[in-house]
C-alpha cells in the first residue's frame, strides 16, 4: 500500500467526491459528514506521507511511475520532495477547514459544493506531485473546472463575470505552456521533467519557452500586471472558494516556476530575472498601495495576497542574481527558503483572513468596510483571532508572516540593497492597510444596528479559526521543522540555478 501513497492521496478525495454527490440533495447532512470523513482521511494519509518522507535524503521520493500512454512515452509519474510535501500537507489541512467552514453556510446543493471541493483538493495534490509535464499540465488545467463551478454557483452577485474571467484568463496563460511543452517533446521525445531538465537548449529556444512558461505561471501566481482576475474571483467566490484559491491555488503558480522555469530554462531565467524582480517589487509596493484604498474587505485581502506572492517570486528569482553574479549560494538558499516559508505561511494567513471575512459576511451579508465598526464589542473572541491574523498578515515577529518576508529581505539585501529597500516597504504598507482595516472594522463604537446584532462565533467557526491560528503561530515561533523539511530540496533547487544549459 505504501508505495502507492501519492496515488492514494490524489484519488481518495477525487473518488470520495462520488459518494458525496450520490448522497444527493435529499440527505444533505449525510453528504456533509461523508465529505468531512473523506477530507479527514486524506489529511491522515498526508500525515503518513510526512512520516514516510525522509527530509535528510532530499531528492524526489516515493516515486510512482507507470507507462500511461505507450505510443507517446507519457508516464503517470508521481514523486515528492520536501516542498511538495509541505504544500500537500497544507492542502489537506485547508481541505478539512473549508468543509467545516461551509457546514451551515452552504445551504443550496451542499453535496455538489462539497464534492467540487474534494475534487479540487485531489487535483491540487496531484499538481504538487506530478513528475511528468503532460500529467502536470492536465491537472493544472483540470483544477479550473471545479473552481469555475464553485465560484459560478455559490458566488456573489457578479459571480458569472468573475468566474468566466477567471477561467478564460488562466486558460489563456496555460495554453502557451502547452505549446512550449509540445516543442520540448519534439526535442526530447519525453515529458519526463527530470529528462527535460537535462535537455540542452539554445538561448533563443530558452527565451521563448521561458516566456511561455512565465505567462502561464505569472497569471496563476498572479504577478503584476496579470493579476486583475484575482480581485474579481476572490470577491465573488464563496468563502471556501476564496480560501482554497488564496491558500493553495496561487501556490500552484510559484510551484510551477520551481519545477519548470528553474530546471528547464535556467539561462533564460537568469537573463530575465530582472523582469521578475521588478514585477515582484511593483507587486509589493504598488499593489500594497492599491490594497490601502480598497473599500471591500475581500478585495483588500486579495490585493494583499498579490503583494505577498510578490515576496515568493522575489525570493525565487533573487537566487539567480546571487548565485550567478556573486556565487553567494548561502544567501540564495536563504532567499529560496524564505520564499518557500512565505508560500506556506501565506496559505494559512490568507486562508484565515478570508475565513474571518466569511464569518462576518454570513452575519451581515456585506463585505464593505464602511458597514462595520466596533465589531470587537459584540464579538470579542472573533476579534481576538482577527487581530492575530491581521498581525500575521503584516508580518509581526512571532507569526508565520514574519519568517518568510524577513528571510527574503535579508537575501535581497545581499544581492542589492535597493531591492531590499523596496521589498522592506511592505513592512510599512502592509501594516498600513492591515491595521487600518482592523481599526475601521473592529475598533471603536458599534456603528450600526447590523453590527450590534452580530453573534459571537459558534463552535464550528471557532474550530476553524483555532486551527488556522495554531498553524500561523507554530510556523512563526518554531519554523525549524518546516525549514528542515524543505532544506535539502531547496539546496538542490539552488544548485540548479547555477547550471548552464547552452
Amino acid at each position: 500500500m505504501f508505495n502507492h501513497l501519492l496515488s492514494l492521496l490524489i484519488w481518495l478525495p477525487v473518488v470520495g467526491a462520488i459518494p458525496v454527490l450520490l448522497a444527493g440533495s435529499t440527505r444533505p447532512d449525510l453528504a456533509r459528514w461523508l465529505s468531512l470523513l473523506v477530507a479527514v482521511l486524506t489529511f491522515v494519509v498526508s500525515l503518513f506521507l510526512l512520516l514516510q518522507y525522509k527530509p535528510d535524503t532530499g531528492g524526489m521520493q516515493l516515486t510512482e511511475s507507470y507507462l500511461w500512454i505507450a505510443s507517446w512515452g507519457v508516464h503517470y509519474g508521481l514523486a515528492v520532495d520536501g516542498i511538495s510535501v509541505a504544500l500537500i500537507l497544507m492542502t489537506t489541512f485547508v481541505g478539512i477547514l473549508v468543509i467545516v467552514g461551509a457546514w451551515q453556510v452552504i445551504q443550496d446543493k451542499p453535496h455538489q459544493y462539497m464534492a467540487a471541493m474534494l475534487m479540487l483538493e485531489g487535483l491540487l495534490i496531484g499538481v504538487f506531485c506530478a513528475t511528468d509535464a503532460l500529467l502536470f499540465y492536465a491537472l493544472f488545467e483540470a483544477i479550473l473546472i471545479p473552481m469555475f463551478i464553485l465560484i459560478g454557483v455559490w458566488g456573489g452577485p457578479r459571480r458569472v463575470y468573475a468566474t468566466l474571467k477567471f477561467f478564460i484568463y488562466t486558460f489563456f496563460g496555460s495554453v502557451f505552456m502547452l505549446i512550449a511543452l509540445l516543442y520540448l517533446y519534439q526535442k526530447a521525445h519525453t515529458f519526463d521533467l527530470a529528462t527535460l531538465a537535462a535537455l540542452p537548449l539554445t538561448m533563443k529556444e530558452q527565451t521563448w519557452i521561458f516566456f511561455a512558461f512565465l505567462i502561464a505561471f505569472a497569471i496563476k501566481v498572479p504577478m503584476v500586471p496579470v493579476h486583475t482576475w484575482l480581485p474579481d474571483a476572490h470577491v465573488e467566490a464563496p468563502t471556501g472558494g476564496s480560501v482554497v484559491l488564496a491558500a493553495v491555488m496561487l501556490k500552484v503558480g510559484t510551484y510551477g516556476m520551481l519545477r519548470f522555469i528553474l530546471p528547464i530554462v535556467p539561462d533564460a531565467g537568469d537573463h530575465f530575472a530582472w523582469i521578475i524582480i521588478v514585477l515582484s517589487l511593483i507587486a509589493i509596493v504598488y499593489i500594497g498601495y492599491v490594497a490601502l484604498v480598497q473599500e471591500d474587505m475581500k478585495k483588500l485581502v486579495a490585493y494583499s495576497s498579490v503583494a505577498h506572492m510578490g515576496f515568493v517570486t522575489l525570493g525565487i528569482f533573487i537566487g539567480f542574481l546571487l548565485v550567478r553574479e556573486s556565487g553567494n549560494t548561502t544567501m540564495a538558499m536563504l532567499g529560496m527558503q524564505g520564499a518557500m516559508v512565505q508560500m506556506i505561511s501565506h496559505g494559512f494567513v490568507s486562508g484565515a483572513m478570508f475565513t474571518c471575512i466569511g464569518v462576518m459576511y454570513d452575519r451581515t451579508h456585506t463585505r464593505l468596510i464602511k458597514d462595520y465598526g466596533g465589531v470587537i464589542n459584540v464579538m470579542p473572541w472573533f476579534g481576538f483571532f482577527y487581530v492575530l491574523f491581521a498581525m500575521a498578515n503584516c508580518g509581526l515577529p512571532g507569526t508565520s508572516g514574519f519568517v518568510g518576508e524577513f528571510m527574503v529581505i535579508l537575501a535581497s539585501f545581499a544581492a542589492n540593497p535597493w531591492i531590499a529597500l523596496f521589498a522592506a516597504f511592505t513592512l510599512i504598507i502592509g501594516a498600513g492597510y492591515t491595521l487600518w482595516l482592523v481599526k475601521r472594522v473592529l475598533w471603536g463604537e458599534v456603528t450600526n444596528e447590523h453590527v450590534a446584532h452580530m453573534k459571537e462565533i459558534n463552535g464550528r467557526e471557532t474550530f476553524v479559526l483555532v486551527a488556522f491560528a495554531a498553524a500561523v503561530l507554530a510556523i512563526g515561533i518554531w519554523p525549524q521543522p518546516l525549514v528542515h523539511l524543505m532544506d535539502s530540496s531547496v539546496s538542490q533547487l539552488v544548485q540548479q540555478l547555477a547550471i548552464h544549459k547552452i
Binding site: 500511461w68 505510443s71 446543493k109 503532460l134 499540465y137 491537472l139 473546472i145 459560478g152 468566466l164 489563456f172
Partner: protein, 484 residues
C-alpha cells in the same frame, strides 16, 4: 470476374445492403402497431455489422474487385466507429421519432444506406468508389434531412443541403476528371488511387493535375464542412431533425476524414507540398469563422454547427501535417469529435419532447436544478468540446497540435491554440446557463423517460471522461493503422 474472395472481403457491406432492403420490406408488411419493433432490429443490424467488420479483418491490407475496394486498418477503425455512433443515434432518436410520429422503416433504411455510403467511402481504392460512396451517403442524407416533411425548416434545410452538395459533388467530379486526364498524359490513364500516387512523376500536364487537386480539395472541404465551404452547415444542423443532425455531426465526419485521407494521401500523396498549405489555410479560416461566429449564436444546434466548423479546422491541422503522425492524430480527432458530437446532441434529444425541441440555449437555463445528471453529462460534453483536460477533447487537440509542430508548422499550432481560447467562451456559456442561471418559471424541462436513451447517453458522456483518463490504447490503434 469477381471471385468469392472479393465478396468475402466486402461481406460487411453486402450484408448491410441486404439487411437494409429486408428492413424496407419488413416495414411494408408488418402491422402498424408493430413498426416500432423495427427499431431494435435496426440496432441489431448495425451491431452485427460491427461484428462482421472486426471478425473478418485481415492481417494485412487487402483489395477486392481489382483494387476498387481496400480493406485496411484505417477503414476498419472508421467503420467500427461509424456503425457504433449510428447505433447510438438510433437509441437516442427513438423517443424523438415517436413523439413526432416519424418512427418507421424509412428513417432506419435511409440511415443504414448512408452508413453503407460511409463504409464504401472509407474503403475506396478508386476514384469511382469514392464518388459512389459519397453520393450514396449524400443522397441518403438529403432525404433524411427532409424526413419531417410537414415541418417548416427541414425541407428548406434539405434543399440548401442538396443544391450546395450537388455543386460540391460536381466540383469533386470535375477535379477527378482532370486528375484522370493528367494521368493519361504520359502514361496509361487510371482511376486507381494507388496508381495515381505516382502520376506527378511522369505526367506531361502537371498544371492540369494541380487544377484537379484544387477542385478535389473544394469537394473535400465541403464534405468536412471547412470554411469557406461551410455555408450549408449551420442551416442544415439547425433545420434537420435533431437525430439526423447527430448523424451528420458524427458518422459523416468520420467519412469525410476517410475520404480526405484516401484522396490526398492515397491518390495525390506526391502533391503533399501543394495541398499541405491549402489545408493549413482552410484550417485557419475554419478556426476563425467557426469560433468567432459561434459566440453570438442563441440556438444550441446552430452554435454546435459553428463549433463543428472549428473542430474541422483542428482536424485539418492534423491532416495538413501530411505524415502518418498527423493522419493518426486527425483520425483520433475525428473519432473524438464523433463521440462528443453524439453526446452533445444526445442531451438535446433527451430533453426534447413532443412540440418542444429544446434547442435554444435559453432552454437549458437552470438545468442543474431540474436534472443534475443531464446537466452533468452536458457539462462533460461541453468541457470536452472546449478541450479542457482531463476530458477526451483535450487530448485530441494536443495530438493535432503536436502533429502540426512535428511538421514544422509551429505558427499553425499557435493559431490553433489561440482560437481554442476564444472557443472556450461559448462552451462555458452553455455551462453557465445550465449551472449558474435560475430556471425560468413556467418552463418545464421534462426528461425523456426512455431507459435505453438514458443509459447509453450516460455511458457515452462518461466515456469522454474515461477516454480522457486513458486514451493510450485508442491512440495506439490509430497509430498502428498508419504503420507507426
Amino acid at each position: 470476374m469477381p471471385t468469392l474472395n472479393d465478396i468475402l472481403i466486402m461481406l460487411p457491406e453486402f450484408y448491410l445492403v441486404a439487411a437494409a432492403c429486408l428492413l424496407l420490406l419488413l416495414d411494408a408488411f408488418v402491422k402498424p402497431e408493430q413498426r416500432p419493433q423495427l427499431h431494435w432490429i435496426a440496432i441489431a443490424v448495425l451491431l452485427v455489422g460491427i461484428y462482421l467488420v472486426v471478425v473478418g479483418q485481415p492481417e494485412q491490407a487487402v483489395t477486392a474487385f481489382g483494387g476498387m475496394f481496400v480493406r485496411d486498418d484505417v477503414a476498419e477503425i472508421l467503420k467500427v466507429f461509424a456503425l457504433g455512433t449510428t447505433a447510438m443515434v438510433f437509441v437516442y432518436a427513438r423517443p424523438y421519432l415517436i413523439d413526432r410520429k416519424l418512427l418507421g422503416g424509412e428513417f432506419y433504411t435511409l440511415m443504414i444506406f448512408a452508413v453503407i455510403g460511409i463504409m464504401l467511402l472509407v474503403s475506396a481504392g478508386n476514384l469511382v468508389t469514392v464518388y459512389l460512396g459519397l453520393e450514396l451517403l449524400s443522397l441518403s442524407s438529403y432525404a433524411l434531412v427532409a424526413i419531417n416533411r410537414d415541418a417548416k425548416l427541414p425541407p428548406e434545410a434539405a434543399i440548401k443541403y442538396f443544391v450546395l452538395g450537388a455543386l460540391a459533388s460536381g466540383m469533386l467530379l470535375y477535379g477527378m476528371s482532370m486528375v484522370y486526364g493528367a494521368s493519361g498524359m504520359g502514361g496509361r490513364p487510371t482511376l486507381d488511387l494507388a496508381q495515381l500516387h505516382h502520376v506527378m512523376s511522369y505526367t506531361t500536364a502537371p498544371t492540369l493535375l494541380l487544377f484537379g487537386l484544387i477542385f478535389m480539395i473544394v469537394g473535400i472541404g465541403f464534405k468536412l464542412g471547412a470554411a469557406p465551404f461551410h455555408m450549408w452547415i449551420p442551416d442544415v444542423y439547425q433545420g434537420a431533425p435533431t437525430p439526423v443532425t447527430t448523424f451528420i455531426a458524427s458518422g459523416s465526419k468520420l467519412a469525410a476524414f476517410g475520404m480526405a485521407w484516401r484522396l490526398l494521401d492515397g491518390g495525390l500523396g506526391d502533391l503533399s507540398q501543394h495541398w499541405q498549405l491549402m489545408l493549413a489555410v482552410l484550417a485557419v479560416i475554419s478556426l476563425a469563422i467557426g469560433n468567432l461566429v459561434a459566440i453570438v449564436q442563441t440556438n444550441l444546434k446552430r452554435m454546435l454547427a459553428y463549433s463543428t466548423i472549428s473542430h474541422m479546422g483542428y482536424l485539418l491541422l492534423g491532416l495538413s501535417a501530411a505524415g502518418p503522425e498527423g493522419y493518426a492524430a486527425a483520425m483520433f480527432y475525428a473519432i473524438c469529435y464523433a463521440l462528443m458530437g453524439v453526446a452533445a446532441f444526445g442531451v438535446i434529444l433527451a430533453l426534447s419532447r413532443a412540440g418542444f425541441e429544446c434547442e435554444e440555449i435559453a432552454d437549458f437555463k437552470g438545468l442543474n436544478q431540474k436534472s443534475p445528471w443531464m446537466a452533468f453529462l452536458m457539462l462533460l460534453a461541453m468541457f470536452s468540446l472546449a478541450g479542457v483536460p482531463p476530458l477526451f477533447g483535450f487530448w485530441a487537440k494536443v495530438l493535432v497540435l503536436e502533429a502540426a509542430i512535428h511538421a514544422n508548422m509551429l505558427w499553425l499550432a499557435i493559431v490553433g491554440i489561440v482560437f481554442a481560447i476564444i472557443g472556450l467562451y461559448y462552451y462555458l456559456h452553455v455551462i453557465k446557463v445550465m449551472y449558474f442561471d435560475k430556471p425560468v418559471d413556467g418552463s418545464s424541462v421534462s426528461l425523456q423517460q426512455d431507459k435505453p436513451l438514458r443509459i447509453v447517453l450516460s455511458l457515452n458522456a462518461l466515456s469522454l471522461l474515461a477516454l480522457g483518463l486513458y486514451w493510450g490504447p485508442l491512440l495506439g490503434w490509430c497509430r498502428r493503422a498508419f504503420g507507426l
